[in-house]
């Protein structure tokens, strides 16, 4: 089947983590995450396998890292409360075993880790959809690009069709595709400097 042939080929890329997902529930067969620099390599591999470009788009994960950090902190706090309750309980029974002492430590590290360094930088997720005309195999290639400088190489050299998709992604998210022939606004007016699909976009 085409999927495992592609899976091996994409696996060869340095940073690619290839995960097979169930088409019935998710809609795509292969879920590949690569580093931004590897995107052109991935496109070339898929081009060699005869895939056609379906869509290129972005997702703005603003506030994701904070949510993760808060979650981690909440989990840590819950774990710590549970540990104190366990310690109080053993204290009541008068048993003096040391066993109870151990659980609180992991809670502290998680907590310490939680507030220690400031949460990782938010990112855009750029999603490439490829599909195959003959065999049914939809491959979704994802990359994460930091919000501060959303730069990644263009694949319009491999797929000319992606030229417009990338211009549209640039319109909506401000993603800068290096090496793109003409990154002027496609759907927005010529002088548009706003990016509507960013979560922090205020009309």
């Amino acid at each position: 089947m085409k999927t495992n042939a592609v899976e091996k080929a994409l696996g060869a890329l340095g940073s690619a983590q290839v995960a097979v997902s169930d088409h019935a529930t998710r809609g795509f067969h292969l879920n590949v995450t690569v580093n931004p620099e590897e995107v052109v390599r991935a496109a070339e591999v898929l081009d060699a396998e005869g895939f056609f470009i379906e869509a290129v788009t972005g997702v703005d994960w603003l506030g994701e890292q904070e949510a993760l950090a808060k979650e981690a902190a909440k989990k840590a706090a819950a774990a710590q409360k549970a540990a104190e309750a366990a310690a109080a309980e053993t204290a009541e029974q008068g048993g003096g075993e040391e066993g109870a002492a151990s659980p609180p430590e992991p809670a502290d590290e998680a907590e310490a880790a939680g507030q220690g360094q400031e949460p990782a930088e938010d990112s855009f997720e750029v999603v490439y959809d490829f599909n195959h005309f003959q065999q049914l195999c939809r491959v979704t290639v994802r990359t994460r690009v930091p919000r501060s400088n959303p730069e990644l190489p263009t694949i319009s050299t491999v797929y000319p069709g992606a030229d417009w998709h990338e211009r549209e992604a640039h319109d909506f998210f401000g993603l800068i595709f290096t090496g793109h022939p003409d990154l002027s606004p496609l759907l927005l007016p010529e002088d548009a400097d706003f990016h509507p699909l960013r979560k922090d976009y205020k009309p």
């Binding site: 019935a24 998710r26 809609g27 997702v59 999603v127 959809d129 005309f133 496609l186 509507p196 699909l197």
Partner: protein, 372 residues
Amino acid sequence: MSEWAADPSYETFVLNMGPQHPATHGALRVKLRMDGEYIVEAEPVLGYIHRMHEKMGENRTYLQFMPNTGRLDYLSALSYNHGYVSAVERAAGITVPERAEYLRVITVELNRISSHLLWVGAFVLDLGGFTPLLYAMDDREQILDLLERVTGSRLTYCYFRFGGLYNDVDDDFEAGARAIVKRMRDKLPMYHNLISKNIILRQRLEGVGPITGEMCRKYGATGPVARGSGIPYDVRRHEPYSVYPELDFDIPVYEQGDSMARYLVRMDEIEQSLRIIEQGLDKMPDGPVMAEKVPKIIKPPKGDYYFAVEAARGSFGVRLVSDGTNTPYRLKLRSPCFSNVSLFGEAARGMLLADAVAMFGSLDLVIPDIDR
């Protein structure tokens, strides 16, 4: 013929086809650098009818976004309803009763025939023949009347709901649909004699605007445009959804890749849709049209989902990123016409203006679907 147009001393002029032009069927502008009547370089300019549906998707609940799907490609709005509804059903894990799926397929195929009919009329109008447009509109009117009796609207439908349909069909829907199938079957030979076999039209279309399979692959062109260039890709067969696997119909594919091939693909598709409707009407079971316990507020679990449907113009895909709340986190609408028109720049190089208009018509573009 336009090699020597490359050196700057040779003077070419820029002709604006659009945004208000009879051949573009909507607000799409094509900047043509012309050398006499030959096109040196063509660049479609988009955005004249851009409404940012994807941002609307992010601040509306799942049900509230339903009317927007009918406004994308208003000629085959039911396919877009079907795509969006199925995507959310896949995300939320709702199963649709058999009867509802059959009714969805029948109304979508009726909508596909009405879209192809309007396209045939407008396409031959672009080539100068005025009369077939009126015959096509006359037949299309029957389909619109039938769908109006069922769904309540004629063009921008909002008939499907998550888990089924807004309401069941009335009892003379089946008789109406069968009458349409019979009427279309009698009328198709007339269209072929009047249009397909006409020598003037054949000379206008054969060999005009060749698109190779490789170009379709590089630009992601799907639907009749790809099937006209020898690529047997049809989402109904390739990625079966709804009840299409139980229906037996074949996919018309032509090898030549010129405007005539794309025209013949659409005409054959009308016949195939008639077959689907007939089989659908025969196999349609009774029963409920709405799944039982569909939650009032749809909150699909976190994660991203993709669902593709075969609209009249190609594969319409919905990429839904949900964060568990009642509004989508990100809603990407993959529109077929966007990719189909992106290959016009490369395909129209070196063509005559009249042939470029013929090829433009054969791509069957709906501009709101391109601009979203």
